[in-house]
Amino acid sequence: MSFVLTAIIMFAFWLLLSGEFTPILLGSGIVSSLLVAYISHDLLFGNARFGVLAGRFWRFLLYLPWLFKEIVVANFDLVYRTLHPKMPIDPEVRNFQADLNTDMGISMLANSITLTPGTVTMEAKSDGSFTVHSLVRGSDAEDMERRIKRIERGA
């Protein structure tokens, strides 16, 4: 299943870059996307079943608007702290344990933490332990963890 999906995505990318639809170009596109998919299909999706993946993808789309809002808020906060003459920052490093169990969920949380207000991920292990550097004391990421858990499990 992941093989077919990867091949389709690769072929779509090929079409996008070439923009031409002659038989020889289409043919070499099909051959090379099959080859790439054969070599690397386990990297993109892992071994989850199609239904689970589709559900996750849909819930991820629902998560995006909230993420964009947070990114904009984060940036205005950052602009304030950067341009203020006294630079009101007070960095700290914190550890916490997130209850996530797919690699995709963990990397998604790590990237979301980096993009949202006041925090950058410093370390994320596959058992879900995170180390976070925050610009201001007392920023937290629990709300976000809950949302990503919902994407992962579908609850």
């Binding site: 990114i71 950052l78 950067t82 920052i89 960095p91 790590a110 980096t114 950058v120 610009l135």
Partner: protein, 104 residues
């Protein structure tokens, strides 16, 4: 003046503002970890806004799909690169700056 051109201009101006702020932040902040914040956030948003402006200007076709892919890729890759950098620095024992210390 077309409304779409004005909108594209606004988006690009906002993007330029965030990119400049990111540059200033990278120059001004006291240590490596605090510099991650402008590099990971303001830079990502700035480039996304500029590319969004270009998409608005150009309308929907093959070119704007390419632009969209560039923007999405940077939005995934930039925080990942920032994370990889922070993680490497942390693993090699670079100490974070605390308030009141001298700038590095």
């Amino acid at each position: 003046m077309d409304l779409r051109v004005v909108l594209a201009g606004l988006f690009m101006a906002a993007g330029c503002f965030f990119l400049i702020v990111a540059a200033i932040g990278i120059l001004r902040f006291p240590d490596f970890y605090t510099r991650m914040h402008p590099a990971g956030k303001a830079d990502t948003l700035g480039q996304a806004l500029i590319i969004a402006g270009l998409i608005i200007y150009w309308g929907i076709n093959l070119v704007s799909v390419k632009l969209l892919i560039i923007a999405l890729f940077i939005m995934v890759a930039n925080p990942t690169a920032a994370y990889a950098l922070a993680n490497a620095a942390y693993a090699s024992g670079v100490k974070p700056w605390k308030k009141g210390e001298e700038r590095k």
